[in-house]
């Protein structure tokens, strides 16, 4: 199977929330490509729309939210794994219908941020995993239980035969996240969406979970869409990185380039505002001040003219950035940036071929 085959393609996705106070443009024109067996890191600060993008992918947007524009194409690998694919337009599916439910938890599954609330407290870990297995695989209960225990063992849950009958509140945060991952992977999905799965965890537990996810990815050959605000985690996990700001992807490229040669002023600002261990320690008498992005994310009801980042941008071009919204610019194949600074440099560069 070719490595670079596209698994999911998000085109010009708009997901809006229609509230009494106004319209929140949570996702406002997102283009993303997730390739098979690859990890796409999606980074951004709170309110940038990264979680809503992932929920749109599974059609789990709660009302009053709605996908208003764009499409999400799922290139479903065929059963025989002979390289052929079925293309499913996820945006065209009924959000409660059979087709999308067959995809959820089976082809594409999801791990959420809060391991503490991801499972019902009144049902055992086993019940909640077995349920997912029996839903998508034609096995009886005993077999499903066997598979659930196998899966728990795979996520390195201590004493899986016993833990399977525990209630979630009897487990620690790290163990719960393992259980949730076991649940998500129980049907061997093609894509795992991980929405800040380690944010609520301690750093040593986080390292364990990240390690686990990487090894499971190798074992099961799945793609991961990893959503986080932590650039360190992105650096560890992702091959491709998309940086989001105010509902848009402002820059997307491979992980090395993002960290070593970021182009978008927002990405640059984000990177320089995190304290670097090496620089912190090697500083001399004078402390290195952190570079920071001025101001803050505007409230979600306002719609800015021009580039959404222009009020905070240190390199803002007057009469351009506050007037015209920058288009996606491919500075080279595999590196997209939405910024006027690069409009001159690359006159509408070649579109990527996947």
């Amino acid at each position: 199977m070719p490595e670079n085959q596209v698994l999911v393609e998000i085109k010009d996705l708009h997901t809006y929330f229609f509230l009494a106070e106004g319209v929140v443009r949570a996702v406002d024109g997102v283009d993303l490509v997730i390739k098979r067996r690859q990890t796409l890191g999606v980074v951004g600060e709170s309110g940038c729309g990264k979680s809503i993008t992932s929920l749109s992918l599974l059609r789990l947007i709660p009302p009053p939210g709605r996908i208003t524009q764009g499409e999400i194409l799922y290139y479903k690998p065929s059963a025989g794994d002979n390289g052929s694919v079925d293309v499913i337009n996820i945006t065209a599916l009924n959000p409660n219908g059979r087709e999308i439910r067959d995809i959820r938890g089976n082809q594409i599954s999801m791990v959420f941020q809060e391991p503490m609330t991801a499972m019902s407290p009144v049902r055992t870990v086993g019940q909640q995993i077995i349920e997912a297995i029996m839903l998508h695989q034609k096995v009886n209960k005993a077999e499903a239980r066997k598979r659930a225990i196998e899966m728990l063992a795979r996520v390195k849950m201590p004493k899986p035969e016993r833990t399977i009958d525990d209630y979630p509140f009897q487990l620690s945060g790290g163990m719960r996240q393992r259980a949730v991952i076991a649940m998500a992977l129980s049907c061997h999905p093609h894509l795992l969406i991980a929405d800040e799965p380690t944010t609520a965890l301690d750093v040593t537990t986080e390292a364990q979970i990240l390690d686990l996810m990487r090894s499971l990815q190798n074992e099961l050959g799945m793609a991961i869409m990893y959503i986080t605000h932590n650039l360190g985690v992105v650096a560890e996990m992702a091959e491709e990185v998309a940086v989001m700001y105010l509902g848009k992807v402002v820059e997307q490229t491979d992980v090395k380039t993002i960290f070593l040669e970021p182009l978008h002023p927002y990405t640059q600002g984000l990177l320089s505002s995190i304290p670097r261990l090496d620089e912190s320690i090697m500083r001399g008498e004078k402390r290195r001040r952190l570079q920071m992005i001025k101001g803050m994310v505007p409230d979600p009801y306002t719609r800015l003219k021009g580039c959404p980042f222009h009020p905070r941008c240190p390199k803002v071009i007057g009469d351009v950035c506050d007037q015209v919204e920058p288009a996606s610019i491919w500075v080279r194949p595999g590196h997209m940036v939405r910024c006027h600074l690069y409009a001159e440099a690359v006159k509408s560069g070649p579109a990527p071929s996947h």
Partner: protein, 333 residues
């Protein structure tokens, strides 16, 4: 679990004890004593008074002794012999008067409870899932009316409507022809045909209340992340609802089993009086009005104990359905 139940039982004992003291104080509150009152009434009606009888009562209940001795005698009789004393109004032991009546009241309460649950739970779930829909507004409004209309006023209105527009005289437990007959199938059917009204009236208020609770807890649960996780598993919406939010939201409702019964029991009294049912309510009322002390005391103690027992059952039920309580975890409660 067992230790939980035992601990909970132990806590109930002082509670019931305090209730009995309160009950005794309450029935003693009216000025004058009931025996004198009783004798006065007998005298007025010209009946002869058996002095020996009076003395026998005085002695038996320690009426010539201080209050706490009277209480002790009273409570000892209840605890050791299950005897609640003597009713001066009815001229027979309290136990004889109340047993059957409390039974009937209990049947009414239980039926109301069944009606209430079977209406409130599905409606509560439905309106929570369809929040801000027409049905939600309709049932919310209906719920408000149900809460604002106490049973006895509803009973009055229904009696009026039934009589004026349908020419039916509602009220009573039996039709006149069955009143004095021994039990038979026909009498039972007749009873049922009279019971539906008090049952319905009682159930309306409770249902309104339960729908509100069910809706609120459902809305709380629907917000939780595990619902989204369940959807992300690919479960159908119906299965998601039933296995996740409903499974938890129903816990507080299940636990109403204990107190709702008693609530109907005590709330039903005024309705029973209005509808002129020959049950516990009217008897308590009359005994209170006539200062028939042991009768009133018996009712208050019995209802108080039932309430305490009800909340005990509620707690145990809750511990059974909710593992967080069983395992002593406070998470998310």
């Amino acid at each position: 679990m067992l230790s939980y139940i035992i601990g909970r039982l132990l806590r109930m004992i002082p509670q019931v004890f305090l209730i009995s003291i309160l009950a005794f104080i309450i029935v003693q509150l009216p000025p004058g004593d009931y025996l004198t009152e009783h004798l006065n009434r007998l005298r007025q009606s010209g009946a002869s008074i058996d002095q020996a009888e009076v003395e026998r009562f005085t002695k038996m209940y320690g009426l010539d002794q201080p209050m706490h001795i009277q209480y002790l005698k009273w409570i000892t009789n209840i605890v050791t012999r299950g005897s609640f004393g003597y009713s001066f109004e009815w001229q027979k032991p309290v136990n004889e008067v109340i047993v059957g009546r409390i039974g009937t009241t209990f049947v009414i309460a239980f039926l109301s409870f069944v009606v209430c649950w079977s209406l409130a739970i599905p409606i509560g779930i439905y309106v929570a899932v369809r929040q801000y829909s027409l049905a939600d507004y309709f049932f919310t409004f209906l719920g408000f009316i149900g809460l604002a209309t106490p049973g006895f006023l509803l009973a009055l209105v229904i009696m009026y409507v039934a009589y004026t527009y349908f020419g039916i005289r509602v009220g009573g437990l039996f039709s006149p022809e069955f009143e004095t007959q021994p039990w038979s199938w026909a009498k039972f059917v007749d009873l049922l045909s009279h019971l539906w009204l008090p049952v319905l009236i009682l159930a309306i208020g409770g249902t309104a209340n339960l729908i509100r609770t069910m809706r609120a807890t459902m809305l709380d649960e629907l917000r939780k992340q595990y619902v989204m996780v369940a959807r992300a598993k690919g479960l159908s919406e119906f299965a998601v609802l039933l296995r996740y939010p409903v499974r938890i939201a129903i816990n507080p409702i299940l636990s109403t089993f204990g107190w709702l019964l008693v609530w109907f029991f005590s709330g039903g009294m005024v309705v029973e009086i209005v509808l002129n049912l020959n049950t516990a309510g009217p008897v308590l009322w009359r005994s209170l009005m006539r200062q028939d002390m042991y009768m009133a005391g018996a009712y208050i103690v019995i209802i108080g104990t039932l309430t305490a027992l009800g909340s005990l059952i509620s707690d145990i039920l809750l511990a059974i359905v909710d593992p967080r309580i069983r395992f002593g975890s406070m998470e998310g409660l």
